[in-house]
């Protein structure tokens, strides 16, 4: 019997009023695999991620996590399922009212599986793993630079040692060097945990670095998917245009007057 995929999306649809955002998304992420979904702004990448996380309910289709259907799941079951997930948000989404160390330890304390002291020891260790010293733990999110926020966000995402980690535009807003540092950390952390990763980005350098497989989302559908090594010879005009960042091609920017 083939391995059950960690994440499986089948024919997922989602619309907001008359705006059909997802038009039948099909995607699989295997155990220990890192899949990056690329695509321009407004193609439905974030909506797809929010549907998997349960922040949005799809209109139709199926989303399975470890073979378990999650569409229409009760709130209690969903909360239990979320323990499998870790997520690095685009703007890091650190809690302003908590110190850095409390942010990182938050998931551990909420799960209640480890004593308080142990949770802070693990949080400290995760901060070190992303290259931040113990002094940073005492700071507040407002005192951190963009790169440091992303590192703390990454430390928080991996603190509970999740089976599946989501990365939402992990390098957006960072300089190229810091972006590469974050990419390296993502590769290292997911490999160490043996976790599956699903990332969305429009940064090709980031996608090439962190992906085993790349899928391209265009107008709410996956129009191409394949190993990262094949992305340069996909034979798909849309993918070609996107990865080379050309203004000319089949993808036309819709400018509203």
């Amino acid at each position: 019997m083939a391995d059950t995929p960690k994440i499986k999306l089948t024919n997922v649809h989602k619309a907001f009023g008359a705006n059909q955002v997802l038009r039948g998304v099909n995607l699989e992420v295997g155990a220990g695999e890192s899949v990056v979904v690329i695509g321009g702004s407004g193609t439905g990448k974030s909506v797809m991620l929010k549907c998997i996380l349960g922040l949005l309910e799809p209109d139709a289709g199926s989303i399975q996590i470890d073979g378990q259907e999650v569409v229409g799941m009760s709130a209690g079951d969903r909360e239990a399922l979320m323990h499998k997930f870790g997520m690095l948000f685009q703007g890091a989404a650190l809690f302003d009212s908590l110190s850095v160390i409390d942010n990182v330890a938050f998931g551990l304390l909420r799960a209640g599986k480890v004593p308080r002291d142990e949770a802070y020891r693990i949080a400290d260790q995760k901060l070190r793993q992303v290259g931040l010293g113990p002094d940073v733990g005492k700071l507040w999110p407002s005192e951190l630079s963009g790169g440091m926020k992303k590192r703390v966000g990454l430390a928080r995402a991996i603190a509970t040692e999740p089976e599946i980690i989501f990365f939402d535009e992990p390098t957006t807003g960072l300089d190229p060097i810091m972006g590469d540092v974050i990419n390296d950390l993502i590769v290292e952390c997911t490999r160490d945990l043996g976790a599956s990763a699903l990332s969305i980005t429009h940064d090709m350098a980031s996608a090439r670095k962190i992906a085993h497989r790349i899928a391209m989302l265009y107008k709410g559908e996956i129009i191409w998917a394949g190993p990262v090594a094949e992305v340069d010879r996909s034979g798909n005009d849309y993918v070609e245009q996107f990865i080379h960042g050309r203004a000319e091609g089949p993808i036309q920017m819709e400018l509203k007057a």
């Binding site: 709130a75 870790g86 997520m87 703007g91 302003d96 938050f106 998931g107 909420r110 928080r156």
Partner: protein, 257 residues
């Protein structure tokens, strides 16, 4: 009918919003009574709502009591009924002005702050981050605020009652030349336990209204900084109007003929 269509749309929009609000309030109340509880967060909110509102509520109460004594003297002295001043002050303050003015001041201070804080958390994805960390945002953010509001408003109003009566006493004794013992005797002669109790029941209801409206508008804010600003305004305006409406309803319930 071109005139009826927009009226119908506004009415349906109002019904939809009322439904959403009732659903939100119901879910939040159910989170208040179901574990897990967050005693630390409730304590923090109690300090924020109760302790830090004391100066503004105290100042409002003392000036209200003073003005009441002065104005009723102006009126009652015309037909030699100065002895009724103490009764007017204590009944007005405990039954109406204490709860209503404290409620309105707290709505401005706390309702606005809650809407702004939760609204900012919404637009910076911190609420989504809570969900991703297996934490129900309504249980973590809304329930502690509602509990603290219901508990602290009656205490604030009790303090406002005492300070308001003291304000009237100051004017009565030092400006209108009442005998201090006589003024206090007149004050307590007319005061019934129901006068104070009705004020405290109102206060608990106002605490619920302020926190629910602040959290509801913050929780559903969108559109960045402008959206947060709109949520703040809506929270203050709607809770102020509801405070005045429920003040009438509770008065009619307790003292209606």
């Amino acid at each position: 009918m071109p005139i009826l269509a927009p009226i119908g749309r506004v009415f349906l929009g109002f019904l939809a919003m009322t439904g959403r609000l009732c659903q939100f309030a119901g879910a939040s109340v159910s989170h208040c009574v179901r574990p897990p509880f967050f005693p630390r967060l409730v304590t923090h909110q109690m300090i924020e709502i109760g302790y830090y509102s004391l100066p503004v509520v105290g100042l409002t109460a003392i000036f209200t009591g003073m003005v009441l004594a002065l104005q009723s003297y102006t009126g009652f002295s015309r037909f030699n009924a100065e002895s009724a001043i103490a009764a007017v002050v204590v009944l007005s303050v405990t039954r109406e002005l204490g709860p209503v003015l404290a409620g309105l001041m707290v709505a401005g201070r706390i309702g606005a702050a809650m809407a702004a804080e939760i609204g900012t958390m919404r637009v910076t994805e911190q609420i989504d981050a809570l969900t991703a960390l297996s934490t129900n945002p309504q249980k973590y953010l809304v329930a502690p605020r509602i509990l603290a509001g219901i508990m602290m408003l009656p205490l604030l109003v009790l303090v406002a009652d005492i300070i308001g009566v003291f304000g009237g006493f100051l004017i009565g004794v030092y400006k209108l030349d009442f005998n201090a013992v006589n003024y206090l005797k007149l004050t307590f002669e007319f005061l019934e336990p129901l006068d104070v109790i009705s004020g405290l029941v109102k206060a608990a209801m106002f605490g619920f209204i302020i926190t629910v409206m602040g959290c509801y508008h913050g929780y559903h804010s969108d559109g960045g900084a402008q959206g947060v600003g709109k949520a703040t305004t809506n929270a203050v305006v709607s809770s102020s109007v509801l405070i005045l409406a429920f003040n009438y309803l509770i008065t009619a319930l307790f003292f209606g003929v």
